[in-house]
Each structure stands twice: as structure tokens, then as C-alpha cells.
Symmetry: C2
Subunit: 234 residues, 2 copies
């Protein structure tokens, strides 16, 4: 197992306010791992043996319903914690986490979480803050699902992806990992057909540019108008 370069991670929000020595002690107890594209990082109902810090790549968090439908809860970007079931008082993971691309992550035994949180208060505080903002996100999702039309929800989802994982290209802003219409549908509670139709329509208006397993947002501002329900119908 190779040595980790602390400079890679010293700037992360999770470790904000930690002394270099403490940081090293924490990181020193981690094991690093690679997850190949489409492989699970952890699985729903599985015992939550570890929690993770994503260093590189993108991970899709999906919940499966008893009858086989899937709902994408969120995408994890580098620098974010995942699998912190333990911090929420859970013994098992609440969802499946699947690598959207080849990923690199650090993993700690769940057991260490409590120790870290009490030994390094700023670590505990920042993770709880993270949990708080996830609760916010979840509530926002609920509001959106309850009050917005599919078109607005898909627009919001795209904008969220752009903000979180947008990479500037000469055509616009590209979502930096493979994403299918089906994936977008699972984020917004609709069907891949409807997403496809919407993207086609937007492509006609030069708001986005589609592609196989990819989406490029050309006119984020226009998209925002749609997301807010302020777009004029043609």
C-alpha cells in the first residue's frame, strides 16, 4: 500500500481547522482503495463497516425500492464523505453507492468515527454540518418534487450537476462523468422517455447539447429560467 500525500487532502472542508499532526494521525489510519467504474463502494442494508472519503471520481448513491425501481439520492464528488451511516446512528448503509467512473477513496472502520469526532471536535463539527446540509438538500428535493413540474425538476437537476461536476469545454459546460437519460430520470422521479424528450426540445433551442451518456449545458441562464418556472412558453 502506497503512502498518501497529505497535501492532497489538507485543503478539504472535512479537515478544516485540524492541526497538521492530527490530520496525519487520522489519515494514517485510513486504507486507500480504488473502485472500478460501475462497482459498488457499499451496498444498501449491508453492515456499515466503514466510512469513506472520496478523493477522486464520482459516486452515485441510489436507493432501490422493494419493487425494483431506483431513485438516485445524490452524486458524491471528490472531497466528500460517504457511508457515514454510523454518524447517524445507523448500523447499515441506507443506500447503494456505485462508482460512476474509476474512483479513489480513503476508508476508515466505522468504529473510529466516534473516536475521531470526540478527539477532534472540528472534525465532528464539520461532518455534522455536512449532514445538516444534506438534510437541507433532501428537503429541497421534497419541495421540488411536490411543487414543480417535471420540466423544472429536470432543469434543476442539470444545473445541480453542472455546479457540482461541470467542466468547461468550448461547447459549454459538460457534466464530468457518464450520465444516461435513465440516470437523470432517477434523479427527478420521471422516465427516461420524458427526459429524452425534454433534452431534445432544449437542444432545438440551443440550451443544451446531448450525446450518448453525456450532456453539455450551453445556456445555463436560460435553463435557470426554466427551472424557476419563469420561461415563456413558445
Amino acid at each position: 500500500m502506497g503512502r498518501l500525500d497529505p497535501s492532497l487532502i489538507s485543503g478539504l472542508a472535512v479537515f478544516e481547522g485540524l492541526a497538521a499532526m492530527d490530520l496525519e494521525r487520522i489519515v494514517g489510519q485510513a486504507r486507500s482503495l480504488r473502485i472500478a467504474k460501475d462497482q459498488p463502494v457499499f451496498e444498501q442494508e449491508q453492515e456499515a463497516h466503514s466510512f469513506f472519503l472520496l478523493l477522486d471520481g464520482h459516486v452515485r448513491v441510489v436507493k432501490s425500492t422493494p419493487d425494483g425501481q431506483e431513485v438516485t439520492v445524490r452524486y458524491i464528488s471528490p472531497g466528500e464523505l460517504m457511508g457515514i451511516a454510523h454518524a447517524l446512528g445507523r448500523a447499515t448503509y441506507p443506500a447503494n453507492a456505485i462508482a460512476a467512473v474509476d474512483c479513489v477513496a480513503l476508508a476508515w472502520p466505522s468504529r473510529l468515527w466516534t473516536a475521531f469526532a470526540s478527539d477532534y471536535p472540528s472534525f465532528g463539527a464539520s461532518t455534522y454540518k455536512a449532514v445538516g446540509s444534506r438534510l437541507q438538500d433532501a428537503h429541497t428535493r421534497v419541495i421540488e418534487m411536490a411543487t414543480e413540474q417535471v420540466e423544472q425538476r429536470v432543469a434543476h437537476a442539470l444545473l445541480k450537476l453542472v455546479k457540482q461536476a461541470g467542466r468547461k469545454t468550448d461547447e459549454g459546460i459538460l457534466i464530468d462523468f457518464p450520465i444516461t437519460r435513465q440516470n437523470i430520470a432517477e434523479m427527478t422521479g420521471t422516465t427516461l422517455f420524458t427526459v429524452s424528450r425534454l433534452l431534445s426540445a432544449w437542444e432545438d433551442l440551443d440550451l443544451v447539447k446531448g450525446g450518448r451518456q453525456k450532456v453539455t449545458v450551453v445556456a445555463p441562464h436560460q435553463l435557470l429560467l426554466i427551472a424557476e418556472g419563469r420561461a415563456q412558453k413558445s
Copy 2:
């Protein structure tokens, strides 16, 4: 201001594992207050000066969208904390909290939150666990909104209310506070018309019994079948 009887609250989950003395110290710093029906406990965007423990009554937590629609996030029952924005790293309340009936609550200045959590670890732990379970709830809501039909969502909402605030009567289980069709609609992301139609239909089947600002569930098990999508269409 009257003295509080510690025995009223010593059994609450929030204070689980606290020594009697610590409990008294915490409660001693609270101010108790009454909130009249339909009055706000706190309001969205307002600075989060206090956090609360509901002792008696029921509080509806509602988020308003910019365009005036409202979504009910949850109902608070006696024994639950509310307004813990501070614990989530927020400076303002994320929603409106309105007394569904006359209520009694304890209030502490938000500033004390951090002190309590570090001085009494079990207080911190149990509240974080509460936050965790709210995150769970929120995710469940998202899943429901994304995958279920309106009929199932309304059934789920009713069952949740029954579990949380059901009172047994000779006709069935009554939701123990005034609740309108509009309220149920705001919980499930639909319209009061649709809720009314569903309740009427269920009343014809003797699954529930309606009334002005009230609902009595007669056949919870049948309702569960509907909620799970396992009910046979007539």
C-alpha cells in the same frame, strides 16, 4: 414563571442517559412558553435565536416556496426537539413552525446548544441521532414522491399520522389534531381536491371516516395495502 416538574420530561428520548442532576441543570436554563393554536413557534428565514422542546401539542413544520405554495415537511409531537437549525450549522430557521393546537414548549437560546452538546455527550449524541432519522425520513419522502402514485402517498401519509398522533376511539383511530384536506395535500404534493376524492372513495369502502378538519382511520391494514400498492382495483 412557574416551576417545571422534571418528572414530566425525564423519560424523553432526548434526555436519555443523562444524570438527574445534569437534566435539572439543562431544564433549569429553559424558559417555558405557550403557543396558541395557529400561532408560529418560529418562522422561515428568521434568525434562529432559540431551539425548542415540544412538551404538549402538535406543531406543523411548513416550507413556503417563493411563489407561495406550501409544503408540510413534518409534524412535531411532544418530546421532540424543533428549531435545531444551530445544530446543523444554520443561522436561520429553514421553515415555518405553526402550532396545530395550543402547545407548551421549552425554549433555550441557540447559543447554549454547543455547550450542551459538549458538556453532556449523550445529549449531543441523541439529538444527532434524531437528525439522522430526519434525514432518513426526508429520503423516504423523496423516494415516495418519486416512485408512488398519489393514492399511495396519501395512504402513507395517513398511516404516518396515525402512528405518530393516533388516538383510539370507538370508530377507529383518530388523528389527534385538526387536519384539513389541504394539509394532507401539502404533505403529499397533491391538491385538496384529489385528497378529498380519495378520502371519499375510501369512506365508501369503510377504510376511513372523514369529518371537518378530522380523519379517522377505520381499517389501517387495508390502507397499508393501498400504500404498498398491493390493493386490488375494484
